[in-house]
């Protein structure tokens, strides 16, 4: 009887629990935007928000938030974690400013809580565990490629103190990203790839593209407007750029089915929001250049990255969407073929290359372009260069419009052989409509023969440099409520209405180091040793001594006598 009462009590309690506001929520979103070059970028964002304090011990019940990551956060006292795995390079010049920028290869940066005593150890353990979770070679992160930037990477979420000693940053430009990294990433999604937008994530299409980048961002955010307590936010993002030229035989029309070979039939049942945004903003005078089918349910106007943009919105949770047909296949057609040789270059873009020839010295040059017609702005440049390129910091020159440009802030940490890389951070003012050339010379070190990679003649990678800037926008941007605005607009906070934050990565560099001939080291060693052993002694003899012929002398009387005695004894003479 008692048991039955208890059971009844429990049953009564259930509605009470349900009435409580949901402690975790999922929003999913797909943004399809045609790029200036005519290619198509698809950006997926899945945001899981959990109103729970993960740092406190004893959190054991996970619903939407992946347990693997949650435990990681509490075990290593992580405050913020940003991991991106990218195959390819975002070509800012022809594709414009990306919503979420990532360098080629793997990038990991983590802010730890102030309570962490040994940050380096936590960082090492964390990267090893992440390596296991994402099947990536993050275990190659060690002290030779880890840096602590002082200014470039600020916490993106809620943070009181920003003591950069709790920050670690590393890039592995050589990392190759493929299906094996995508699968564990998909598994972290609440609906996996069974329902919702994630059904489009099929590896054979995602890797048949010009650019593929997947990322995980974890940060604490305000729970509500008052911001008295914090919640945890996990953003999983994936950006793919499809080459419309190669697939469409010159035509730039696309549809969901054509690019993903799938259509959408439902939203993820666990999601509280599931939307598709299609960028239909027109460039100035000719509007109505393109046509989207089916007709969008609503149109959202926003100012993103200094531009006014118009988006057609499809809400998958709206039952009206699937009334007409059972599946949603968004299509876009261009009414007129658009061809223009000159693309409008984005306000900030950069290029980096190695100049010079030969295997002794070289020069790393970075060109930073500010194409803003009248506004100058500062940019924060972060360079991480491996120790085997010995930078000569006195050769650092920054030239803008033929004149020397003095950085207003400079932080340089020289490398230590086999222990840590060079770190160079500079705040450089970019005048309006200018190109700034930053060059620094280096010498190529000769490595120990066991330190070469198995393919030494391929070259060694130098990680991309990072440019962070608040770019003044040409139009006025209005503040939007973060909860209402599309997800893609809300990761980086904009400081005010007149500028927006941009982070850019340049290309990674491939540098050849002087390489011995590894084809037959054993033979070479044997031959060299033999030649040295045989020749050295004799040549040394010849060079340092003179030889004279000495006539044998008869010897003294005593010796003669002694010899006679020895002869009698039968002993050989002296």
């Amino acid at each position: 009887m008692e048991q039955a009462k208890a059971l009844l009590g429990l049953l009564l309690l259930v509605p009470a629990l349900a009435a409580e506001p949901l402690r975790d929520s999922l929003r999913e979103e797909l943004l399809l935007s045609p790029l200036p070059s005519g290619d198509l970028a698809a950006t997926f964002q899945f945001r899981t928000r959990w109103d729970s304090d993960l740092q406190r011990e004893g959190v054991s019940h996970y619903r939407l938030f992946p347990k693997a990551l949650g435990q990681l956060i509490s075990k290593y006292s992580v405050r913020e974690l940003h991991l991106s795995l990218t195959q390819g390079f975002w070509r800012t010049r022809s594709w414009g400013q990306p919503y979420l920028q990532a360098p080629a290869g793997a990038e990991l940066w983590v802010w730890f809580q102030d309570s962490v005593a040994d940050v380096d150890k936590a960082w090492k353990d964390l990267s090893n565990i992440l390596s296991g979770i994402f099947c990536a070679s993050l275990n190659f992160i060690d002290s030779t490629n880890t840096v602590t930037p002082t200014a470039s990477f600020k916490p993106l979420g809620l943070a009181n103190a920003t003591d950069h000693h709790f920050l670690r940053y590393a890039v592995l430009p050589r990392e190759v990203v493929c299906t094996e990294n995508l699968t564990p990433w998909k598994k972290l999604l609440p609906c996996s790839s069974k329902a919702g937008l994630a059904v489009l994530l099929k590896a054979e299409r995602l890797f048949h593209s010009s650019y593929h980048s997947q990322a995980v961002h974890i940060r604490p955010i305000c729970r509500d407007g008052a911001c008295l307590t914090s919640s945890w936010e996990l953003r999983q993002t994936l950006t793919v750029v499809f080459d419309s030229f190669a697939t469409g035989q010159g035509k730039k029309d696309w549809s969901l089915f054509k690019i993903f070979s799938r259509t959408l039939t439902e939203a993820c049942p666990l999601a509280s929001q599931s939307k598709i945004y299609v960028d239909i903003s027109s460039k100035g005078q000719e509007n109505e250049l393109l046509e989207v089918t089916p007709a969008p349910q609503s149109v959202h106007e926003a100012s993103v990255q200094g531009n006014r943009r118009t988006y057609a919105v499809y809400d998958l949770l709206d039952p009206g969407l699937f009334n007409v047909s059972r599946s949603l296949n968004v299509q876009l057609k261009w009414k007129r073929p658009q061809d223009s040789l000159d693309l409008a270059a984005p306000v900030l873009h950069a290029q980096r290359y190695v100049s010079g020839y030969g295997l002794q010295t070289g020069e790393i040059s970075t060109l930073v372009y500010n194409t803003h017609p009248y506004r100058a702005f500062p940019v924060l440049l972060l360079e991480t260069v491996p120790w085997y390129l010995r930078l000569y910091i006195h050769t650092l020159t920054i030239i803008t419009k033929g004149k020397e440009n003095k950085p207003s802030y400079i932080h340089y940490q020289p490398a230590q052989d086999r222990r840590r890389p060079h770190l160079l951070e500079m705040l450089i003012q970019l005048p309006a409509n200018s190109v700034t050339k930053i060059t620094i010379q280096f010498e190529r070190a000769l490595l120990k023969w066991t330190e070469y990679t198995p393919d030494p003649n391929h070259g060694f990678y130098v990680s991309p440099s990072v440019l962070s800037a608040l770019v003044p926008s040409i139009i006025a941007m209005k503040e939007e409520d973060e909860e209402l605005s599309p997800l893609f607009a809300s990761l980086f906070p904009s400081s005010d209405g007149s500028s927006y934050f941009v982070r850019l990565y340049t290309e990674p560099l491939l540098v050849n180091l002087p390489t011995p001939d590894f084809s037959m080291p054993y033979n070479v060693i044997c031959l060299t040793c033999t030649v040295v052993a045989v020749c050295y002694g004799s040549f040394y003899n010849l060079l340092t001594r003179t030889f004279h012929v000495e006539e044998p002398s008869r010897g003294g009387l005593a010796k003669r006598l002694a010899n006679i005695i020895r002869k009698m004894r039968g002993v050989p003479p002296l």
């Binding site: 390819g88 390079f89 030229f245 010079g356 070259g459």
Partner: protein
């Protein structure tokens, strides 16, 4: 080595060396020359093989069906080139853009030190247009280059057409791992040099060029294409680059392998390979091929646009389509397939080409002589100088040790007058200085004195430069009559022996260094200079020696090489034509140095010629 520490044996050895010096030298020369000639004999060479595993056999079928398109592009290009009277920049940009490439252009200008009369250019202004095919999902760290020179007249139109057709085919493929740069360069080598310098952001020669917007990382390999007819009968490959640098042998092997695969005839130095090898004509054929390579490499001139890539450690070859009177012709499809196959193999490369040889000679495309095999030939020649130097050294030191003894027993030179005051090493300084000063004048005056020469003499600028150079060269011959009067110990036997010892060692060192950089040049100089350098001395028949010495001077060697080359390519020339070509070659040598940084002219003017002058001084010591 113990042989040398034992005084008795040492003395015996020294005596042997002294007595048998001349026969040993003769033997060594014969061995060196014989060895070199033997290199072309097939059993002495190695069969070419692909060392790079990444370029090994794959089950790939080359496909290229855009042959009509290539010809259409070629016709359009020819039309636009005619209309634009030069490079049709706008048309190229638009066409490449429509093919889906990232298009960039680079303008450059260069004023030559003196007008190039052969190609009629002085102030050169041009534009290079290039399109970059971005490899999907690659971070632009590596790239390949296909370059085509935009030449004057009707040349190379088909090459541009084929390149564009290849670009459009490549653009549709998804397997590229490296970016591919399609480059059309104006003013052949000058444009190429300007492009390479801008790409690597260096300024080696004084080309003024606009900066470069588009880059694609480290270039791994390059192929330069020259094609002037719709159909071809064979492909010729040029390997010799600037300063005699050669591309990795694997690249040549790759070309050969693909020609074999698609059944194309391929030649090197314009010579088709013979099927037999054991007859005299077959041997002579491969000897001709090899000698042509030696002459071309020795000249230090790039034999095609590829030659300039080599400085930047980019392996490159020039492929030249030839349309001769042979019956069987190949169309663009076959040519395109061959190039497509080569690019796909290069695309597979994981590392830079490094597995195979960088130093080799090619008696035919399927056979090669590696550095280990050909170096002994040169070693034998250098041995002569060492033997002679040892001989002189021992004669000199013997006189030092025992001046009271019979003066330097039994040497054929005659007794050394030991009662004369011993000249110190200091006496060698004036001839050395004067000879090098002459060399310096030969290097710098032709360009510096250009204005003055044209003002005072009725000659063109180019003639002025060449004639000044020849005048200084010849004036150097008058030096000994002026120098040895200055010397205190002049006229003594010790004096000339010391000078000869010095110049022999100096020559040996120079030739050794040259042979390491450019074997052919070293060998050509050695085979002419060494025997005469060994023989020359102030006693004996002076006029004969003087004639011999003049015959082996570097300038005379150049003249002989021109005649030899013309013989080998089977179009003999008269003496007058030879002289014309000789003058032209000097002007070209100077231009190559100033335009591309070729080191042959400064090397000869600053080092080999002064060394030869030292020997001339030895001859006229008394």
């Amino acid at each position: 080595m113990g042989l040398l520490s034992d005084p008795y044996r040492r003395r015996a050895l020294a005596r042997l060396l002294l007595r048998l010096n001349t026969p040993l030298c003769a033997l060594s020369f014969a061995a060196g020359l014989g060895w070199f000639l033997g290199l072309a004999f097939q059993p002495c060479t190695l069969r070419a093989y692909m060392s790079e595993n990444a370029m090994g056999s794959t089950m790939v079928e080359e496909r290229f069906a855009a042959a009509p398109r290539a010809l259409a592009y070629a016709r359009q290009f020819a039309g636009h080139k005619k209309a634009a009277r030069g490079m049709p920049v706008a048309w190229l940009e638009k066409t490449m853009w429509n093919l889906g490439l990232e298009v960039y252009k680079q303008t450059f200008s260069r004023t030559l030190p003196f007008p190039d009369e052969l190609r009629e250019r002085y102030m050169v202004k041009g534009t290079n247009v290039y399109g970059i095919l971005r490899a999907p999902r690659a971070a632009s760290t590596e790239s390949l280059v296909l370059s085509v020179p935009c030449s004057e007249g009707q040349h190379n139109n088909q090459a541009v057409g084929l390149m564009l057709a290849l670009a459009s085919y490549f653009r549709g493929q998804i397997y590229w791992a490296k970016d591919i740069i399609f480059l059309v360069n104006e003013h052949d080598l000058i444009g190429m040099e300007a492009w390479l310098e801008a790409y690597h952001d260096v300024n080696v020669t004084d080309v003024l060029s606009s900066g470069m917007l588009g880059r694609a990382g480290a270039i791994q390999a390059a192929i330069s294409l020259e094609l002037s007819s719709d159909v071809i009968t064979s492909f010729d490959v040029a390997v010799e680059g600037l300063n005699g640098q050669l591309p990795n042998l694997d690249l040549v092997n790759l070309f050969y392998a693909f020609c074999q695969k698609s059944g194309l005839l391929c030649t090197i130095q314009g010579k088709l390979q013979r099927s037999d090898w054991d007859s005299l004509p077959a041997y002579l054929h491969s000897l001709q091929t090899m000698l042509l390579m030696v002459l071309k490499q020795g000249s230090g001139r790039p034999q095609g646009d590829h030659g300039l890539f080599l400085r930047y450690h980019i392996e490159a070859i020039t492929v030249h389509g030839i349309n001769s009177f042979r019956q069987h012709k190949y169309d663009m499809g076959t040519v395109g397939k061959t190039l497509e196959g080569m690019f796909r193999k290069l695309n597979n490369l994981l590392e830079r080409l490094h597995q195979s040889y960088f130093f080799y000679l090619l008696p035919s495309l399927s056979r090669f002589v590696s550095i280990g095999v050909y170096m002994p030939a040169f070693g034998f020649l250098i041995l002569i100088l060492v033997l002679k130097a040892l001989d002189l050294w021992m004669k000199l030191s013997r006189c030092d040790v025992d001046p009271a003894e019979q003066p330097c027993d039994g040497d054929p030179v005659g007794p050394v007058a030991s009662e004369e005051p011993k000249p110190s090493l200091l006496t060698l300084v004036p001839p050395l200085l004067i000879c090098h000063a002459t060399g310096l004048a030969l290097y710098s005056l032709p360009i510096l004195g250009l204005r003055m020469a044209t003002r005072h003499f009725p000659v063109s600028e180019s003639e002025a430069v060449v004639l000044t150079a020849i005048a200084i060269y010849v004036a150097g011959l008058a030096l000994p009559h002026n120098t040895h009067r200055v010397l205190t110990g002049a006229g003594s036997d010790r004096g000339w022996m010391m000078l000869k010892l010095l110049s022999l060692l100096y020559l040996a060192m120079q030739l050794g260094c040259i042979a390491l950089v450019n074997f052919s040049l070293g060998f050509l100089l050695a085979v002419t200079l060494v025997p005469v350098a060994a023989v020359v001395q102030p006693t004996g028949p002076k006029p004969l020696q003087a004639v011999l010495l003049v015959l082996v001077t570097p300038a005379a060697t150049l003249l002989f090489c021109i005649f030899l080359y013309q013989e080998l390519v089977e179009c003999p020339i008269t003496v007058l034509e030879g002289w014309q070509q000789f003058l032209q070659a000097i002007a070209e040598g100077l231009l190559d140095h100033h335009l591309y940084g070729s080191i042959v002219f400064p090397l000869v003017a600053l080092f080999v010629y002064p060394c030869w002058l030292l020997l001339w001084n030895v001859l006229f010591w008394k």
